[in-house]
Point group: D2
Chain length 385, copies 4
């Protein structure tokens, strides 16, 4: 019997961390063949060049697709998505996969969904059913309505996808593959590399041996004009803390220019002595850096997901993660310098939390591969009510 061809489209650095163990499991599965498509910002230097890590990890790449329009505004986000539909349609047409996987809720993930669904290729949606806000909220649930099979990360998400009119036997809680990596790191937590030596980055060097924090804050698309103002609050709070800080560059989204601009001009004018900037790390190194941090600051979903398992205190700023399911490690604050600073200090001065399993027990990659090998695939559906 021929192997099932599973086409996975990775369009951004964080999506790769979220899917990596599933890629490994698909590649290793005797009844599956992996067709990996790397597209969008995952190919771009400005957004951390995820492609380099993917190639270093040894995954063969079936096709690469440049599709990001410059401008980082709502108009170019929409055009990027349209271009993605056209290009990915062509890629799927020539690769002829048995199923296509679209990941989560970034704006361009709907391009994968349309290119597959319209060509009658069974579409598997990962990480549906969660709740946030802004454009990714619309995109996530639209992906659900275009998809034929739903592999979700939490019980809460499972119930929501079913409420959205999907049949229960098409909705499976696999947990989040990002927790698989978190589990590896929890079992071997030692920070076995020097982040500055290994990854360079820019900004002052300082001693971080006695404790440091990690910052990761992305623009929120429907507020993209406010992006610069928002990031400045965090920059000021982090500088005011005086605590060693490793800061990761934001991903590609409307508003990231405001965010980047804010960071650049703050550096130029304020010359913060306690902040060093990175573009990217491979997923395991990134998790080790977090595991050994006192606190994570920003609005990254890693704070909600991986950190729930790792038990790291998280200062979650603004409404980007909105109603996403949280463990007790998360403290929500506004775009407010004083609130941010106070939550940072609280985080620095407390113990890590016990591991939470709300996003999975660390076996998602294998579970996903097994489901893809055995589930009945279909591309036609009707709402359940």
């Amino acid at each position: 019997m021929p192997k099932r061809k599973i086409c996975v489209v990775v369009t951004a650095r964080p999506s790769y961390s979220r899917i990596k163990t599933a890629l490994t499991a698909i590649q290793a599965h005797p009844e599956l063949e992996l067709q990996l498509v790397i597209a969008g910002s995952a190919l771009l230097d400005r957004y951390g060049n995820a492609i380099d890590f993917i190639e270093k990890d040894g995954f063969p790449i079936a096709a690469k697709v440049f599709m990001v329009l410059e401008g980082e505004n709502p108009t170019t986000m929409a055009k990027t998505t349209g271009l993605g539909v056209m290009e990915l349609t062509n890629v799927f047409y020539n690769l002829k996969p048995d199923a296509v996987i679209t990941i989560a809720d970034r704006f361009e993930t709907i391009a994968t969904s349309i290119a597959a669904a319209y060509q009658n290729i069974p579409l598997v949606h990962l990480q549906g059913g969660e709740v946030t806000g802004s454009i990714d909220e619309k995109v996530r649930h639209a992906n659900t309505k275009l998809a034929d099979l739903h592999l979700v990360c939490t019980e809460d998400a499972k119930q929501r996808v079913i409420k959205l009119g999907e049949y229960p036997h098409k909705v499976i809680n696999t947990g989040c593959p990002s927790i698989d990596l978190a589990k590896q790191v929890a079992q071997d937590p030692e920070l076995d590399f020097d982040p500055v030596k290994k990854y360079g980055g820019v900004g002052p060097e300082f001693s971080w041996i006695n404790g440091y924090m990690v910052i990761m804050q992305h623009p929120v698309t429907t507020e993209y004009k406010d992006a610069k103002a928002h990031i400045l609050k965090t920059l000021k709070a982090v500088k005011a803390s005086g605590y060693p800080a490793f800061w990761f560059w934001p991903n590609v989204d409307a508003g990231s220019d405001g965010t980047s601009n804010g960071i650049r001009s703050f550096r130029e004018l304020e010359k913060p002595e306690n902040i060093h900037f990175f573009k990217n790390m491979n997923p395991i190194d990134f998790l080790k850096l977090m595991k050994n941090a006192r606190v994570l600051v920003g609005n990254s979903s890693a704070g909600i997901r991986e950190c729930s398992y790792l038990g790291i205190p998280v200062v979650n700023i603004g409404n980007r993660q909105n109603r996403r399911k949280r463990a007790q490690n998360v403290t929500d604050v506004d775009y407010n310098e004083r609130q941010i600073l106070s939550a940072i200090e609280e985080g620095i001065n407390r113990e890590h939390y016990p591991a939470s399993e709300i996003y999975g027990v660390g076996e998602s990659g294998n579970k996903i591969a097994e489901i893809l090998a055995t589930v009945e695939l279909s591309f036609s559906k009707t709402i359940s009510y």
Copy 2:
């Protein structure tokens, strides 16, 4: 106060009939400005040149967008949609509407939805919440999840959109504007033109004064290879009936080549004496032709909607209309020559049905315009559960 700019995107002949009275009402409303965009198959001769009727009806056109790829297969449907996203994004960016309207569930309507939603323009979805099957089922509900305001046609649809996680105050049953036209025709039903003299068409001429039927059957996209086989069943049944028949050419969809091919080769080989073919009529003439028919045959949604109000017996073939709400005038049959023929004969020999108001009372256009002028517009939302 400046008028609200309402941008309506019409991409196909049948969508125009479904929105026409709303266009008139928007144009006439003192607080609204109509920005009409004509795109896709509505510009193409092969699909009935809706643009000609629209221009004859006097609507000013803000932009035209060619975007249909040739091939009429799932791959070109997907690419058409991607191209539509890119082009419509540009159009909206330059027109700067206060709200965009996307209509129903044709595959390319999601292009309108993405171009608006991603640019933070409030998106109004018309005719959501219904149930059919195949790709339009996925598209319709994905449109719902991308839209901010839902103007639906039936109570049933309203409840379904609310179940999909939309807040009740954002879901309004306006009825279907197509019923407004049906009401006009019901009040003035006389067939005041000779269809062949006015619209030409191809095929034999015959006397239809003593009764005729109308046929309108579109390909069902996920079965596009079967399109030719399906249409042949209907052609044989119609020929076997010997009853005068006016047949409308199918719209642009994957599979329409199979349907068109089937019709062409049947004509060439079987030379049916009782079938005359039309490409298009203006919406009112089309409804008058239906109103005076003994029976409508095929799988057009007009059979479900307008004919419910007009009371015309409908032979509905196959599952294209699936679970769409029906009045008592509809008889469902399979792709089966004998079943079709028997249902045609039953329809011919009975009275018309009394008017049903499940799709509205004939005031939808004005109701829609009034809502658009007064409702609070927003572009950010979160699921209700």
Copy 3:
């Protein structure tokens, strides 16, 4: 040493005939690897489905690209070309060819040129340096200026490309590969199939054993509104001749709708008894049909090229072939029924002409492959004056 990867893009039925022997020779050459991309109208049923013949001939296909927008007008021609640039860029990026071949002067061939030239892939242009008119004139010479190596068909063309500022050692007269096929047919001219039995087609059947003509007339793009008027002149002349006629459907170009419409309505109204219509034939069968015809009518370049070698009288209508180099077999006429009819009758009643070698001696395919295997490839150039 790795084989040189030669990527050939075929976008239309006639281009395939023009390149076929070169494809065979490239595939057979021990130092070359063929990467065949089939795109545009070559994939479409309405334009003769060249893809079927290509697959039957056993060429492996590296990628297929749907890119033709419907509408057959100047606007959709331009958009098709833009789409082609985007899609072919992606295809070349993933195939990584050592050289790309673009063929002649159809509007979409510049998409191949841009996709290769901009990516620093050596671009080989076939059949440059000829002279016609309208848009293909502009496209052909623009292709020359984008290309790095020029394989032309006549001495005249060679001198013209050099005058255009290309260095003489980059311009080689290989003759036209279409003459290779013509030579095969000249050596084995028997019509060994019944065209109607083998290819079907539509229209009346008649006896053609005692002589027939072939018609092939394409729309001229800058006059696309006149396309219908032009084709009617030819239709009337052919009908008036009463002589058996095999007519080939026109290719995809702006105006082809006018041409197709003209043919369809003429058939419907005039029911010509002496014209049978075909969509396509494989290249050899087509040449055999021509070789055994009394005369070829229309504006196809086959009349200028293959027929020069085959010696068939050609009635060349209008200015589509403009100043393309002619042998003595060509009679030029206007869009004028009387002139066309008179030239047809003259052609029918005379002998075939002796073979002319102005377009080559029938060894072009091998010559092209040998050049591609041995020439120094480069992608940077400066005008010679």
Copy 4:
């Protein structure tokens, strides 16, 4: 009589300087209507936001088109061009201009050419017939072959365009509109603003009253991997000179990431005390800054054109300007730190040159407008030999 609608497409900051006086003259001409389309990098913050200057200068904008793909490599250059063809086709289709102007030889200018030529809109090419190298060489001459009217800048260019097969009456030497601005500045040369106060920029501040240089160096696309190495040579030479330097950020081209990266890392590591960086200035301020400089360094065409009239010593690095016509003010050097430094020092220590008129006498804008108002416009042509 209705005014002739002249559509000008500006896709980049330097193109605006090259066309500005023509835009003013077209707008002022009683028989012309200006349709200004701003596209590509002219809309992007990273490339100096030309749009801001254009809007400040009071030109009404008919349409804006985002079309630049991120990645700054040959693949994204090609895709940007394809996207440009599609979008500009739509823009022209809806604007219905009587003529379209495409400027010079940037890679994306061929998108304007195709969108116009394929839609049978007379195409006017400005600044053809010059000679450089790499991809812009191919693009410039391809633009010539697509265009119907050629308004060139030098006698040399005029003769070359005629040699390319264009008819002499379609080739007019108008001089370069950039010289019109240079003339204004030559007549009123005082530096009436403080560049750092007015434009900010980044980097150290220093006294420049006693003399400064200006640097402007763009990546050369076919060598894009060497971009970083090349820019470092210049950076080192400029630092070594110790002379006050105003440096302008490079434009969008393949390789600009290498160039930008080179500049960023040099700043970070070497902290040059004598270099201040700007993104952009309005064209007149930019020329005043140059007029008052001792020397211009880099590979900008402004060094060849405007500086020929302004008489400023220019150190022209590498082969980007290749065989473009030069006045005596230009010293050509390799990518070689020592050569660059030595030429800088020579330039600093000499007088400015007398004005050269090889690129015009400063009346081009009016001349161009007058020609556009009176010339016979056509869109069909055949090569002259």
